[in-house]
Assembly symmetry: C2
Homo-oligomer: 420 residues x 2
């Protein structure tokens, strides 16, 4: 059997370990030259396929590909681009198949979240319909941890570890000074729709009641009076209050706290910032001096404090994607299966893309304490293993030694360009 | 000679490595039982001396004291409390001497910045005047790097390393997505009066022009038109612009950018946030999608990515403080002397507290590039060695294993309390 080429692309927001999945795909493909020719990576994700901007990864050295394991961001570029509905806009899918065909691509690996599973699924359908043999495999990735079926999502564990270390450290800082200075520290974390990342901060507690003493979840409608009362209680008890708030925190009516009417000097509504909003509220109502931090991209790109568990899983799903493809599986996604909590054991399973596509996994309600300000033991059991182990990148001259690939595009073969 | 006890206190904002200085003091004192009895630590800094709240560090195990090397924050508590002028308010100084006397304290170690040097200096004067023999030694500490005479300040190198790694990582993130999504990333860093921390971000560049493409210094009056023009140029050239802005950034008339009229829903002026302010400005004027982060306390408590050079210097100044005291030096501060840039070599020197007190070291003007948006080679030569080397803390269950001391207070001996 003549080997066929493979296409690999990353999609959506990147993570500290998505390149480890790329590394898993490429290294595993290189072990099977009898079946897989060249791995082409989409420049800027799926846009690279539509525009026929394909990166020839065979021009990258083994050493540079191995360095993807410790390099955050997206080595080939990613994008926010959702393919249109297959019925309404068949042209995009046909274009994809046309490009795949032109480069003799027999394997389609798509590394992303919910939308990407949907895309990979549709590509598998259209290729079948068009009679073009293409093995389509999704590879899970998202810091939001919201994919179904898989026990967790590669990318999440590293954000969780970053948030745990960061709030532990900042809490020690504020605690040091609280007697005569700042009493409130607020760290804003990602998670527009679910409180997975905020929940992880609960792992920073040694005992049930220490810092962070308050977590504000998107799942719990924000009640200003109860919140202020709790802040005040904690400051009176501990001398300070360290808290972690989700960017998705919202009022009972569904309005985000971050949309609550902050305007700038010109009267324009100012975007975002739950942390400054709550800090100001506390200052006005309780008079406490505050500090706040917004981690934003720092959290999801913090490869320097990635979770080894997360890294290994990110690599493993990339590796498994290729192995499953070679076994002839199609329209599936390798997933993480939890075998045991403590000591943690996991393995790779598989899910049908049809079952993953567009399904969002919510955080179980029993992960949030009844008072709404912290996590339960069930949450701890689930979360704790995901931050286990360290995987520091190499450092040169005191800086993380992140790789920059050559990213050489292969010559185009399709005559027409595609407007995207 | 009968051994005498020692007093040690931390002052002002804490750092990732101030406890390493405490470790240096206590471990070195333990090596000299013939001269130093117990090291008492002030609970919440100098307040502990005024209130006679002295922590008996002899009750802490060698192992826990050693763990201070890798624990951020202030192990005994710190404070923002400046002693009043010695002429106007002699009572405070007399109280200090009274407490020292009651506990047979012959060594006064004060770990802090400019104000603290001033306090230590005054204590040395008053003790002399009152005929109470007290050896007063300052120990340098500040993330702001603004102490004179010493080549650098313990605490700064670790913040610098954190900022370098963070902006490198976030830049990879934004670069990954810029083709179809966010084009602007702004990281706000500390440094109200000088741009040392902002300047450190320049080390993240591999070449002169890559990320962070713009640094906004407090030393360079903010010119909105020039700034916007540069942002636009960079986005058009690179596809994205990652920048680091100092919280101390200001207009030509001295107003801080963070005070530029942002109000909340209630019309109250909102504190802080240069990053969101600039992000909004860019959005309004250039229309680019943005993300921003404010590192705040995360940066100065990030022991998980401390600089080994910084850590070693923090320990060394603590150790030297005790050794110099035992040699009979008084009213001095051990300082870092740079012997050579590359390879970096340093040694410990000493400065008179009188020369350190209340003097602020500014960043040399020739550290800032002529266009005002980056650093020069001179700055690179100075900064690069300070972030060298890694000193990861131990981790247990995926979390940094920071120590919590017992912090047992010794019984009070002075009859009167002191209102503070």
């Amino acid at each position: 059997m003549k080997p066929r080429n493979a296409f690999y692309a990353q999609s959506g927001g990147v993570t500290a370990v998505i390149n480890a999945s790329a590394c898993g795909v490429i290294e595993t493909a290189r072990l099977h030259p009898e079946a897989i020719g060249t791995v082409y990576a989409g420049r800027n994700g799926i846009l690279g396929a539509l525009r026929e901007e394909l990166i020839d990864t065979s021009l990258e050295s083994d050493r540079d590909i191995a360095a993807l394991r410790h390099t955050p961001g997206s080595a080939f570029g990613s994008c926010r681009y959702k393919l249109k509905d297959i019925e309404k806009q068949k042209a995009e899918y046909e274009r994809l198949i046309e490009v795949m065909k032109a480069h003799d691509i027999g394997y389609f690996f798509y590394n992303g979240g919910n939308d990407s599973s949907d895309t990979a699924y549709k590509v598998s359908q259209i290729s079948e319909k068009m009679g073009y043999p293409l093995t389509c495999i999704g590879i899970p990735k998202t810091v939001d941890n919201d994919l179904p079926i898989t026990d967790c999502c590669p990318g999440f564990g590293s954000v969780a570890k970053y948030i745990v270390a960061s709030i532990m450290e900042a809490s020690l800082d504020i605690q040091s000074m609280c007697e005569s200075s700042t009493k409130i520290f607020i760290l804003e974390v990602m998670g527009r729709h679910a409180g997975w990342i905020a929940a992880a901060a609960g792992l920073a507690q040694r005992h049930g009641e220490d810092a962070p003493q308050i977590i504000v979840f998107p799942e719990v409608p924000f009640d200003q009076a109860r919140f202020l009362q709790r802040v005040d209680q904690v400051v009176k008890r501990d001398g300070y209050c360290a808290m972690v708030v989700s960017e998705g925190a919202q009022f009972a009516d569904g309005r985000f706290l971050s949309d609550s009417g902050v305007t700038d000097a010109f009267g324009h509504s100012q975007l975002g910032g739950v942390a400054p909003m709550l800090a100001n509220l506390i200052k006005q109502e309780l008079g406490y001096k505050h500090h706040w931090a917004v981690a934003d991209y720092l959290q999801r790109s913090a490869r320097h404090i990635a979770s080894l568990t997360d890294l290994e899983q990110a690599y493993a799903v990339g590796q498994a994607a290729v192995e499953l493809a070679l076994k002839g599986h199609n329209a599936i996604m390798p997933v993480i299966k939890r075998e045991q909590d403590q000591p943690y054991r996991w393995s790779i399973g598989e899910a049908r893309l049809a079952d993953v596509a567009n399904v969002e996994k919510k955080m179980p309600r029993d992960f949030i304490r009844e008072d709404g300000f912290g996590i339960t033991d069930a949450a701890r059991r689930y979360l704790a293993p995901l931050i286990e182990g360290e995987a520091f990148p190499p450092f040169v001259n005191g800086k993380p030694d992140y790789v920059k690939l050559r990213n050489v595009l292969v010559p185009k073969k399709v005559e027409k360009s595609f407007p995207v």
